[in-house]
Structures are given as C-alpha cells and as structure tokens.
C-alpha cells in the first residue's frame, strides 16, 4: 500500500512524523527501529543559544497523559548542526528543525542559520510554548505576533518550507491558523500542549517547579482533533495533526478531518518503538477505513446530512 504523502514541497514515505521534544534528536531511538522508515523527525526545540531549561521536577504523569515543563533545554542550533544532524539519515528521512525563540528577530536569525543546511528538510516554528512566559506564551496566543514571526522566518529561510506550530490555548484556533497563513506559512502543525497543572496535596506544592506545564498524550486527543478540523476549514495550506496520537487509527482520524500528515509525541513513551509500530499498522487501519491512499482519505470526513 502506498502510504506516501506530499506537502509544502516535502515528500514523506508515510504520514508518521515524530513530534518535537518527544523523540530527542532521533538518535536516542536508533536501536528501536530504522529511523529511515519514519515519515519524518522533528527534533527537539532549538534556540540560538544553548538553554538549560527549567528547574526540576519537569514532568508528571496524569490520567492518560502527562504534563511537561522542560523549558526547551537544548544545546543551541549550532551544536545541533555540528554534532547531531550529520549522524541522522537526512537523505532518506525528512529532518525537521523546531525553532524556539522569544522574539521575532530571533526567529529570523534562527531561520537564517538553518536556511543553507542541506540536511534540514523544513522548519517548524514553535510559536506556542506554554512553559515559558517570556516570549513563548505571548507569541502563541497573539495572532499579530504569529503573522510577524512567520514573516520573519519566511524572509530568511531560503527555500525551506515553513511549518507554523500553533498553540491550542486560544479562544479561536481558526484566527491563529489564518494569521500564520497570512504570514506566508507553507503549512501548519497543531496542537502543541494544553496549559495545565498538578498539585501534590501532601506537600501542598505544585508538582512542577515551573508551577504550570503543558498537557499532552491521549487525554488531549479529542481537543487536538477538533482544533485540526477547525484549522483545516480555516486555511488553504496543508495541516499536520498533533495531539494524543497513539495508534494508526488515531492518525487516520486526523487525516480524515483534513490533516496531510501527523506527529506522534507522548506515545513514544508508551514504548520507544511505538512510532515504528504505528507505521507497521497503517496498512491495516487503511483497510479498516476502506481508503485507497492517503490523498483519498484526507479531508473525506462525512458530515451529518451529507
């Protein structure tokens, strides 16, 4: 069965991409499956300078999900290009850089650094980090900032496709989707995490040192699917669905409402080969949906009365 998908100039073997922050730099998983089999890999969020991230504790398990407040710990974009990218199978699999910045200018600078890198297939612009108040949150929730950040990245990215990753913590996701499209985004990806919190009643302290964190995992799948559905109706550019995807069926739900590809995040923690297993299982799920290929399934949602 042909599982290929094409969008924004990318050709992926299948629609399964690993989500930023949940698959490291890919190399951590090379003993659990052949990285070349993945549709793509979005690496951990990259900033201009190295970042140590937030204080510990940074993660907590919640019913069917988890909260994280990693705070974009990363070695910086230069170290990624020097130490990690050369080890990745970038000729065979789309390696997508995830850009984290706290200002429009920094986003532009990051795009400039990555624009000439042969091994980078596309840029994913994280305008939605809920963990860090300075910059991240403001960006993701303000349509004007989304447009500006997108424009800044588009101006400096060379010929790399630009995917803007949206936060769900907004009143109207369609407005944010259109804001990114207006800025020239080649595609959207969504959702990033929902802002959440947990308290340890024994100590009466927030479990996360950062107090609040991002909720991800199967718990949020219904919210993610709704957001992707709304975004797909709001814009003309391709959409990558993210949020709680743990099985091939889950992936196909997102494609049915209009996503072109999907990213698997928290499910990589169920077992480290989960993304590979989802790919293995795609043909079976496609038969269940009686879908000939991905293009036929995409956006084929049958609304009541149709």
């Amino acid at each position: 069965m042909d599982l290929r998908v094409e969008f924004a100039g990318l050709v992926l073997k299948n629609p399964i991409i690993t989500a930023s922050g949940t698959f490291g730099f890919g190399l951590e998983f090379s003993s659990f499956g052949d990285l070349k089999r993945l549709g793509g890999i979005v690496v951990k969020g990259l900033s201009l300078k190295p970042r140590e991230g937030n204080a510990m504790p940074r993660i907590v398990e919640t019913p069917c999900g988890m909260l994280n407040a990693i705070g974009i710990q990363n070695p910086g974009v230069e170290a990624f290009l020097k130490d990690k990218l050369p080890l990745l199978p970038w000729r065979e699999t789309a390696i997508i850089a995830n850009l984290y910045a706290c200002s429009v200018e920094e986003f532009g600078d990051l795009a400039g650094v990555l624009s000439g890198e042969e091994g980078v297939a596309a840029l994913e612009v994280n305008v939605s980090c809920p963990n860090v108040t300075h910059g991240g949150a403001a960006f993701g929730q303000d349509p004007a900032q989304i447009t500006k950040a997108t424009e800044a990245v588009k101006k400096r990215c060379g010929n790399k496709p630009v995917i803007v990753k949206l936060s769900p913590n907004v009143t109207d996701i369609a407005v944010c989707a259109r804001a990114a499209e207006a800025g020239g985004a080649d595609a959207l990806s969504l959702i990033n995490t929902l802002l959440g919190m947990a308290v340890d009643i024994k100590t009466r302290k927030p479990v996360l040192a950062n107090v609040v964190g991002g909720l991800s995992g199967p718990a949020i799948k219904p919210v993610a699917l709704r957001c992707v559905y709304q975004a797909c109706r709001a814009v003309g550019i391709p959409v990558v669905g993210i949020g709680g995807i743990a099985s091939a069926e889950d992936a196909l739900e997102f494609i049915t409402v209009g996503a072109t590809a999907v990213e698997v995040g928290t499910a990589n923690f169920l077992r480290p080969d989960q993304s590979f297993r989802i790919i293995d299982d795609l043909p079976r799920a496609m038969l269940k949906a009686r879908a000939a290929d991905m293009a036929e399934l995409r956006g084929s949602l049958v609304l009541p009365g149709q």
């Binding site: 949940t22 490291g24 090379s30 991230g53 504790p57 940074r58 993660i59 069917c64 169920l270």
Partner: protein, 259 residues
C-alpha cells in the same frame, strides 16, 4: 559483564513468571529474560505491562536486580499506581521491557568496594555481588526501615561481608550516618557505591567529597522515556548543566553531580 552500548538496547515483550511473596508490598518480580546476554549492575530496565492501556502512559524504571540465562528479576516496593498494578500481574501476562539502560556501577577487580544500600537501594547490588570478578573484596552496608526479611539481604550476606542497621526511630539516624562515615574511611583507597534515598546519598556524597574518597551514586528521578529523549529526568552535573539521569546516569561520580 560488558557495557552494552545504546544500539543494542531492544524493546521486547516477555512473560511475567511470578513474584516471591504475593502478599507483600516488597515485590521480587521475575520475567523471562528478554534475550539479553549480559548487563552491567546499576543499569536499569523500563517495564510496562502490555495490558496497561493508556491511563499510565509511562513505563516504570527499575534497577536490574538479577539476570540469568532464563530470567530477569527486579525488586521493588509498591508505592503508587504503577507498582501496585505491577504487583498484581498474573503469570503469563506480557510485559514490555526496554533495556538494559544507563551506565551502571564500576566493578574494578581486586579493589576494596563498599556497597552502601538504603532501603530499596539494595536492588542493584544483588546482581552486582553475583557478577563481581572478585567478590571477596566487597563489603555491604544496608540501612533499612522495615524488617530485614522484606529484602533479599540475607542471600547477599551469605556471599559478602555484610552488616545491616535498622532505623526504628529518627534517633537511630545519627548512628547510621556515623557508621557510614566510618566504613567509608576504612575503605579509603577503594571505592564506595551507593544507592538509596536522597538524604542517604547526600550523606555519602558530602563525606566522599570532603574526604576525597572515590564514590559512585545511583540516582532516581521520574522518567518518561528512559532513553535520554524527553529531558524529564535531569540532574545537574558538576558544572551545573542539566544532564539526563537515564542516559548519562543513573550512576554518577560523587563529585560530578548535584543532589
């Protein structure tokens, strides 16, 4: 006993074989050996029963307590949602296992080696003793709260020089700390390996650093991936940089980690 490099780590689904005492909160859980030929004591495994579904999305990390040709054994205490479910497995239930993970303890031959175990921290030393090339150089000190019978201590004490101290009341603590310091001083020139609760480890770290003694500490943090990818389990290294306990540890040189 070779250090497995990361590329050899596999996810396997293996059958649960049984536990030592079904009624106890201290569970010695035995699984089929997932096809591992060797491991380095101090390394750990992530365990996730196949039928867990989605409510608990993370596996649970446990020190590898024993490994033989047929079986993999971990030793844990029931403390929360995951461990209470693990304690209720039925024979034949499938468990997804990934490992051996992390770096493990040093095992220099013919070196006086002091094993300092606090509570469940005894788990990795079971296999350490069994696999050591020169066990006659090992000495075990075990600090515990609940009665000794709950732990695999006696089996271990048959093989190496061992002593145990129970903390009945908080007043016992200074005596235990004193004894740890004495033993560490006596072991000067050798190496001390420690696993246990944070205050226990802090005592050992302080004494090692102050006295310039060689010591290794095995850390515990909540883990999601176990393979260095999520950055949820970090500690600060000597330079104050965040490093993953799962991938760069769980064993650290006493002077190269902040507790």
């Amino acid at each position: 006993m070779v250090v497995r490099n990361c590329r050899e780590v596999k996810v396997q689904s293996v059958r649960f074989l049984g536990t030592w005492d079904e009624a106890s909160d201290f569970v010695e859980l035995t699984l089929e050996n997932p096809g591992w030929e060797s491991y380095r004591p101090g390394q750990f495994a992530m365990l996730r029963p196949k039928h867990w579904g989605l409510e608990l999305p993370w596996g649970r990390p446990f020190s590898i307590s024993r490994l033989d040709a047929e079986t993999l054994t971990v030793f844990f205490q029931v403390i929360g949602r995951g461990t209470s479910r693990l304690a209720r497995l039925n024979p034949g239930d499938e468990v997804v296992v990934w490992g051996p993970l992390g770096n493990g303890f040093s095992a220099p031959p013919e070196t006086p080696t002091l094993l300092l175990a606090g509570g469940m921290g005894i788990a990795p030393f079971r296999g350490y003793i069994e696999n050591h090339p020169t066990p006659e150089f090992l000495r075990l000190f075990f600090a515990h709260r609940v009665p000794l019978a709950n732990y695999p201590y006696l089996a271990m004490a048959e093989k190496v020089r061992a002593e145990a101290m129970q903390e009945h009341t908080p007043e016992d603590l200074p005596r235990i700390i004193e004894r740890i310091r004495e033993l560490m001083d006596e072991n000067h020139g050798g190496i001390a390996l420690a696993c246990g609760p944070t205050p226990f480890m802090r005592t050992i770290q302080e004494h090692a650093v102050a006295g310039g003694l060689r010591a290794e500490l095995s850390l515990e943090k909540s883990m999601a991936c176990g393979v260095g990818a999520c950055l949820g389990c970090v500690c600060k290294n000597g330079e104050g940089k965040h490093v993953q306990v799962c991938a760069r540890g769980p064993v650290f040189q006493a002077d190269a980690v902040q507790l």
